[in-house]
Structure formats: structure tokens, C-alpha cells
Assembly symmetry: C2
Homo-oligomer: 188 residues x 2
DNA sequence: GTCTATAGTAAGATAGAC
DNA sequence: GTCTATCTTACTATAGAC
């Protein structure tokens, strides 16, 4: 075969991400990851010399970037609070494919106390996401403590809805979460 | 070694449960499970001829029984709604060891689309738990639809708090959930 | 950059002694 | 009921050709 990349970096991340979200970290074998990307295992090692941990780490960081720079970035745009929320909600919905795509943070949180680097990154990212929602709520006029509590609660509801989707084999819990998100953010 | 059980059935379930909750289904190897129970792999196969799936299934059913017949059973006892709630909350707290013990449903939901029998059981159990909370809320005077919505929301918050505990490496999210549970159930 | 081939290890599972 | 020993398969990882 050729000497050039058969798959772009972003496409590669996307395909790896699907496998990890679906099978979890330990459940995803190199055979699975290779099949999903149409590469052989040795080719994956060429791109990720540290193997599966590195793949998971890079996928995780890509997810963080998308959440921070695209989904939650909507909350900092120049528009009314309501419009910013509905843009964010829309992007969140597409990020999780209406609840049919699991959450990598979620999966890793249930799997990876072993790998310290991954565990730290998960912790860091959860803090960033909550911080971003908290910042929005404070800008909107809520007190620091209320903003903090509420941001944590929203993250709990999001993660919980995704667990419920998998457990109930239905995307309804996530869709309900999406439907109530604006109220959950702005209610008095 | 002897011809008699080295470990009681309930102790066995308990030890297996810890491993599954900590490492997930695919992450838990027979070596792990054997080490935790002080049995050899072959001895585990004697008790669970179908191997790991069967262990997970039996652990799962034991957890369901404890949740239904002990934790949530508090909601059907003969006392005021407030007292029933605080008994249930107390038992829930001890069931999850103040948030330091992960949730098997949660872990399985993030891991086990593969095994259909486990997936069905998880779905069934989630339905039972929600149904039990819903029943309590209806008895307390809430409408059927409100009871339903609220019961689902509480299960989302519970699962979400446990995900957050693992992700943040802190038991605070679960403790906050416990603190707010009565309000979450009874608020107008 | 991708491949085939293969080494080495750990996994799940079984047979048979005690 | 538990053990040691073993089988087979699947996994991670590496070496080297193109």
C-alpha cells in the first residue's frame, strides 16, 4: 500500500472516538480500533507509539477542544442569554448525536482509575466544563455560589442522562435533558 | 485445600462486586476476580460455570435485590413521608459508601452493549428503581406525570453524581446529591 | 505511512487430582 | 469445593519489507 495517510487526522480521531465511546477503554481492543479506521494495528502504532492510552488521551483532548471551543463557546458569543443558551443546546445535541452517542468522559470515568494521566485529564476537563457554565451563569446575574451549584448540577444531569440512555437503550433521557436545559440554567 | 467453601456466597458477591465496580466489566479479569476472592480461577468456574458474564449477572441481581428490598423498601414503611425519605437516603448513602463505591448499573451501562442478557437486566432494574420512586411520589400526592418525570430526574442525578465522583476523584458530588435528595423529592 | 509476520503475554476456559 | 496444570484464543507490541 501507499506511503501516504489513508485517513485524515480528524477522521481518525472521530473513528477512534466512536469505538471508545461504544466499548469503553478496556473493552476497545486494537483490533476494534484498527477495523474502525481501516488501518492495521501496526499503522496505529506508527501514529500512536504509546498505544491505546495515547489514542484515548488524544481523543479525549479533541473532545475537550470541541466542547470548549465549539459547544460551550456559544455561551460567550455576542447575543442575548436565551439565544446563547439555545445555540449551545443545539451544538450539545449534535455533539452527542441526540443522545445516541455516549460520552467519552463518562466512559473513562467508569473505567480508568488505572491510568493516572487519563484520570487527571478527565478531572481537569470536567472542571473546565463546569467552570465555563459557572462563568456564564455569573455573567447572567447569579451569585457565585448559586452559579457553582447550578453548573455542577447541570453536569450531573448531563452525565446522568447519558448513563440512562445507555442503560435504558433509549435516547429519551438525553432528549428530555436537552428540552429542560434552558429552564435548568435560568430558573429562579 | 479443603472440600468446603472458603468464602460464603454473600461475601463472594460482595468481593466480586467491588472489582466490577472498580474496573468495569471488560476491565475486570478473572485474575482480578480470583485475587479479590482468594480463590483460584478454576474455583470461580466451579461456582459460575458460564464465567464472567454469569458473575456479573449474579452480582447485578444481588444489587437489585438490595436496592429494592432494603434501600427503596424504606419508602414503603409505615412512617411519615419525611421519615421514610430520610431512612431511604441513609441506606442509599451506605449502599454507595458515601459515594466512594461506584455503581454497578452505571459501570455496566457504560460497558456492556455486547452482552444482551446483561443489557436487558440493566434496563429492567433501572425501570424498577424509577417505578419505585414514582410510586412513592404518587402516594405522597403528586400527579402521575409529575411523579414520573421527577423519579427519572432523581435517577439521572444519582447516576450523574456517581459519574462525577469518579471523574473528579471526589465523593463530594454524591454527598451533595444525598444532601439535596429530600428537597428534590418533595419540592413543589 | 502502511503493510505482513511474528514475538510475547495475558486472557478465558477446561480436565482431573485431592 | 478447591487446587494445579494445561489448552486455546485474543491481546499488545515490535521488526522489517515496500
Amino acid at each position: 500500500m501507499g506511503r501516504h495517510a489513508m485517513i485524515s487526522d480528524s477522521e481518525l480521531m472521530q473513528k477512534l472516538s466512536v469505538v471508545f465511546r461504544h466499548k469503553g477503554f478496556s473493552g476497545a481492543s486494537l483490533a476494534d480500533l484498527a477495523a474502525a479506521t481501516n488501518l492495521k494495528r501496526a499503522s496505529l502504532y506508527h501514529r500512536f507509539p504509546e498505544g491505546k492510552s495515547q489514542m484515548a488521551m488524544e481523543v479525549l483532548i479533541a473532545a475537550k477542544d470541541q466542547m470548549m471551543n465549539y459547544v460551550l463557546a456559544a455561551l460567550r458569543e455576542d447575543a442575548s442569554a436565551e439565544i446563547r443558551i439555545s445555540r449551545m443546546t443545539e451544538r450539545l445535541n449534535s455533539f452527542y448525536l441526540n443522545g445516541e452517542q455516549g460520552c467519552f468522559l463518562n466512559v473513562l470515568a467508569s473505567n480508568i482509575i488505572q491510568d493516572n494521566r487519563l484520570a487527571s485529564e478527565v478531572k481537569l476537563i470536567l472542571g473546565l466544563l463546569i467552570g465555563e457554565i459557572e462563568y456564564f451563569l455569573q455573567q447572567t446575574g447569579f451569585s457565585k455560589t448559586l452559579a457553582q451549584t447550578r453548573a455542577q448540577r447541570i453536569m450531573m444531569l448531563l452525565q446522568g442522562s447519558l448513563v440512562m440512555c445507555r442503560g435504558m437503550q433509549s435516547s429519551k433521557p438525553f432528549q428530555d435533558f436537552i428540552k429542560n436545559l434552558k429552564d435548568e440554567l435560568l430558573k429562579q
